[in-house]
Amino acid sequence: MSRYIVIRILQAFLALIGITVLVFILVRASGDPTHLIITPTSTPEEIANLKKQLGLDKSYPEQFVVFITGLARGEFGDSIIKRKPAAEMIKEALPNTIKLGLPAFFIAMALALALGVLAAAKRDSIYDAGVKLVAVLGQALPGFWVAIMAMLLFSVRLRLLPVAGYGTLKHYVLPVGTMVFFLLPGMMRLVRSSMLDVLDAEYIKLARIKGLSETKIIWKHALRNALIGPLTTAGMIFASLITGAVITEIIFNWPGMGRLLVEAVAARDFPVVQAITMLVAAMVLGMNIIVDIAYAFVDPQIRYQKS
């Protein structure tokens, strides 16, 4: 098992290098950030000067060497637009993202699990119909619209919650709620269909024959087998949360990573884009490994194969 993990980490590291090179090239191929910094009065010499100061006059390989040597020292470079270290900007935005993303993730996953299992266990009942409705709504309604409607209803009309900002627990309700609303349906459907598959299995029949209670059958025998599919998705959702809450962050004015990335890409702020993509890539790759390890915990067969 540990040998397997070491191999997976090495693979992930290679993938990270590949992604870094790719992002480095792509972001540069997509436009020149100096075009956003210059003013209506800038002269061609000043533009050239600016490029030189930012190191953008050098060839790609030369820029890459600068970038890599910086990385080796643990530096991602300074933001072209904000003129401060990209790492510092991430350090400011990341806690906000985590504060929003972690509760949203865990609430959504817990709800998805509970409701998905309930819908599967009580198939074709009123609960199942309710769960299906929530799933359809969640996937059909545009996120932007839902967030704004929630804001208009709960904040403007009912005056129950603040519109935006942060500080108190109340400030979390709307943004976290909106994110849960986005994250829940897909996961819930996945849990439901996975559970339905498992509940048809012979070993579930045998568990019933043994005289076990439905609770034990569902939460012990069925769920653990039904988790394998949803686990991968949960891992990917978790990794994507780093930059995935753009809409929520914009509407509820939450200065997180999603907004930072969108703004950095729009401005071709290379160091910031590179730093965030590397972080996201590392997160995705890391989550993959964690999911694999989690698999091994859930499914002993995988555990034995890999050792």
Partner: protein, 326 residues
Amino acid sequence: MIKKQTKKVLEVEGLRTSFFTRKGEVKAVDGISFFVREGETLGLVGESGCGKTVTGLSLLRLLPEPAGRILGGKIYLDGINLLALSKKEMRAVRGKMISMILQDPMTSLNPVYTVGEQIAEPVRQHQGLRGENAREAVIAALRLLHIPSPELRLRDYPFQLSGGMRQRVVGAIAMSCNPRLLIADEPTTALDATIQAQYLALFKEVQKKTNVAIIFITHDFGVVARMCHRVAVMYAGKIVETAPTEVIFKQPRHPYTKALINSVPRLDRKVERLYSIEGQPPSLMNLPPGCRFCPRCPEAKEICREQEPAEKQVGPEHSVFCWQVS
């Protein structure tokens, strides 16, 4: 091989089970009666789809919900009508009083729990044993089914065991609480021939030790000959003939039984080709008014088409449902 007349463990009277589908009612089991004695093995024989497995699941009240429903009849286990029990009381019967072994050992064990855990569950549930006591009971069950080094095996996961071993584990689960009745639903069809023979021998031994009553569901008369004391032949949701095993082979009375026995390949008889029954069993959604076998029956007369045959006693513990038997 007639068993000495011991106490009847199970008595079923007029059991009717249907499935309600979108297309209509499927009468899977349509008024059957039979019994099993202590230490006795009753073979429930018939083609696939005749209602054997549904009968087994009905006894456990484990029909797939909400489609499957028991519509009528009585199931007495040691004199208690199981159909009158609450859901909770019924759960206490399952695994403790009645056990069942499913067909495919590859799929009937939960892949993510150890063998020991899966055997321990009914022990904990029904006997209230914990810790070391539960472990002892698990090891005893594994020993009963002749599983070598049970102390080690109980830590194994199903995928680490061979098919034959797994089916023994399923047997150990079934026997772990020392049940009164064991329903074995074609437990050997998924095993290869030598393993099959071992498994059957093992079962006989287990029965001798525990005096458990067994309902052996099969379509294989070879297995019946080796395992069963008595046989009930099912056709299209009905029992058409019941008899002690020796009698059924020597003097089958129902035309369907005869056809089935003739279709069994035998070492002592050389035949040009195996006998096969013409036609298909009737749809359980749209049954003919008279005898259900009549469309395929070589001996059918007018009355067979019009009226359902009544039970006729033709010998000791030998009854048959056929107009042409006198």
